[in-house]
C-alpha cells in the first residue's frame, strides 16, 4: 500500500548523506542586557533632582500711615541690604554714622541677629530690614530666612523702605570698599 506523507514542509525523508540540522539553544546571554538596565537606572537616579519646591509664606503689613508701630530705640536693629551680598547694620537710631554704621555679610549677620535677640527683651525686639535698589531678590529672601533661622517670631521684623540718607551711606561705603 502506498503511504502518504502527511507531515508538511521539511518533513522530507533525509537521505543517508544529509545531516540533521543542529538544534540551537534558545538561551541567550542576558548579561549585556542587565548591564544596560542597571546603567539606565543609575543614569536616571543620578540625573533626577528630587527637589520639591517649598513655599515661604509672606504676610505683608497694610500700609497705614496713621497707625504706625512705635518701637523702642534700644530694641531695634536695622539691617540694610546692599550690593554684592553685603549687609550693613546699626542699632537704634542712626545718629552718628561713623561709629554706628557697620558692614557685614550674610555669614556673620546670623550671629549678630542671634546676639541681639538674646540681649533684648522679647517685647522690645524689632528688626527693620531695608533693601537697597542694588540688592537682589535672593538677599531679600535670605534675610527673612535668617529671621526664621534665628527663631525671631513674626511681627518682630519688618521690611521698610530705605531712606535717601541710608542709600547714600551705603553707596559711600561701597565706593570706599571697592564693591562693584
Amino acid at each position: 500500500m502506498a503511504e502518504m506523507d502527511t507531515s508538511s514542509g521539511g518533513g522530507h525523508k533525509k537521505g543517508p548523506g544529509v545531516k540533521k540540522a543542529k538544534k540551537m539553544s534558545t538561551r541567550v546571554d542576558l548579561t549585556p542586557m542587565v548591564d544596560l538596565g542597571f546603567l539606565l537606572i543609575t543614569f536616571f537616579v543620578f540625573t533626577t533632582t528630587m527637589s520639591q519646591p517649598t513655599a515661604m509664606a509672606m504676610n505683608e503689613p497694610k500700609d497705614d500711615p496713621d497707625n504706625q508701630l512705635k518701637v523702642k530705640n534700644s530694641g531695634v536693629m536695622t539691617l540694610l541690604l546692599g550690593k554684592d551680598d553685603q549687609v550693613y547694620y546699626y542699632y537704634g537710631e542712626l545718629v552718628d554714622p561713623n561709629t554706628q554704621f557697620k558692614g557685614s555679610n550674610f555669614k556673620e549677620i546670623r550671629q549678630l541677629i542671634a546676639d541681639k535677640r538674646n540681649a533684648t527683651p522679647m517685647g522690645d525686639l524689632m528688626y527693620i530690614i531695608k533693601a537697597d535698589k542694588e540688592s537682589t531678590f535672593k538677599n531679600a529672601i535670605d534675610i527673612l530666612d535668617e529671621m526664621t533661622i534665628s527663631n525671631v517670631p513674626p511681627g518682630h521684623y519688618a521690611e521698610v523702605d530705605m531712606s535717601e540718607g541710608e542709600a547714600k551711606l551705603i553707596k559711600m561705603t561701597e565706593d570706599a570698599n571697592g564693591i562693584k
Partner: protein, 216 residues
C-alpha cells in the same frame, strides 16, 4: 590515596531574573517621576529653610533675572473667569477664538496692548523674546490689573483659597520684587508665598536648637 574530586560547576548564571529586576526598577522610576510643569523661562529660586511644600495649582508670578514678569494662571478652576474679567475690565475686545487661545496659554508675558496681536500670530512668540508684563512704577503696572482680575474671580470665596506665589530668580533686583509686592498690596492682598528651594537648617542655630512645632 584517592582524592575526592569536586565536580566542576558551570560559571554561567541565569541572568533572566536579574534582567527582570533591572527593567522593573527602571520602568518604575520612569513612571514614578513627575515631569516638571512647563515654565515660562528658567528661573533659579533662592533657598530657604521653609518646609512647606509648594502647591502646584497656583497663580504664579515669575520674575526673571532681567526683571521681566510672567504670569502663570495655574488655577484651572478660575482661569476662564480671570481671562474674561481682564477682557471686559480693560476692554481688550478679544474675539471668542482669541479668548480660547489665551486660555490655552501656559503663561502670559506680553503687555495688554500687545495681547490681541500676539494671539493672532501664527507662530507664538518665544518666551525668551517676550517683553514680560509691565510691572514698573505706579504709572505702568499692568500686573495690578491682572491681580485685580484674579481677586475678582475669587469673589465670594475666601481669599485663603487663593494660592498666589512669587517665583523669582536669585539675581533679580529687589525693586522688581517690590513692584510685584505693591501690585498685590494695591489689590488688598497681603498674603502670598514665595517659591524657594529647600535647604537644611544650619546646625548651631536657634532654629536647630528649638525647632518649631510642626505646622498643622
Amino acid at each position: 590515596m584517592g582524592r575526592a574530586k569536586l565536580p566542576r560547576k558551570s560559571t554561567n548564571i541565569d541572568m533572566t531574573a536579574m534582567c527582570d529586576v533591572a527593567f522593573l526598577l527602571l520602568s518604575f522610576f520612569i513612571l514614578a517621576t513627575k515631569t516638571k510643569p512647563p515654565e515660562a523661562v528658567a528661573v533659579l529660586p533662592p533657598s530657604s529653610v521653609s518646609t512647606r511644600v509648594a502647591k502646584e495649582e497656583a497663580i504664579m508670578v515669575t520674575l526673571t533675572k532681567d526683571g521681566k514678569v510672567f504670569l502663570m494662571l495655574g488655577d484651572k478652576a478660575h482661569k476662564d473667569a480671570i481671562i474674561e474679567d481682564i477682557n471686559s475690565s480693560r476692554q481688550l475686545n478679544l474675539t471668542p477664538a482669541e479668548m480660547a487661545k489665551l486660555k490655552k496659554l501656559d503663561f502670559i508675558g506680553v503687555p495688554l496692548n500687545m495681547l490681541k496681536g500676539s494671539l493672532d500670530l501664527s507662530e507664538p512668540i518665544k518666551p525668551e523674546n517676550m517683553p514680560g508684563i509691565p510691572c514698573g512704577d505706579s504709572t505702568n503696572n499692568e500686573l495690578v490689573d491682572w491681580v485685580r482680575s484674579v481677586s475678582n474671580s475669587y469673589k465670594g470665596e475666601s481669599l485663603e483659597n487663593l494660592n498666589l506665589c512669587v517665583k523669582g530668580d536669585n539675581l533679580a533686583k529687589y525693586p522688581a520684587y517690590k513692584n510685584i509686592k505693591s501690585a498685590f498690596k494695591k489689590n488688598d492682598i497681603f498674603k502670598f508665598k514665595v517659591v524657594t528651594n529647600p535647604e537644611g537648617v544650619p546646625a548651631d542655630s536657634e532654629l536647630a536648637r528649638n525647632p518649631p512645632a510642626p505646622a498643622k
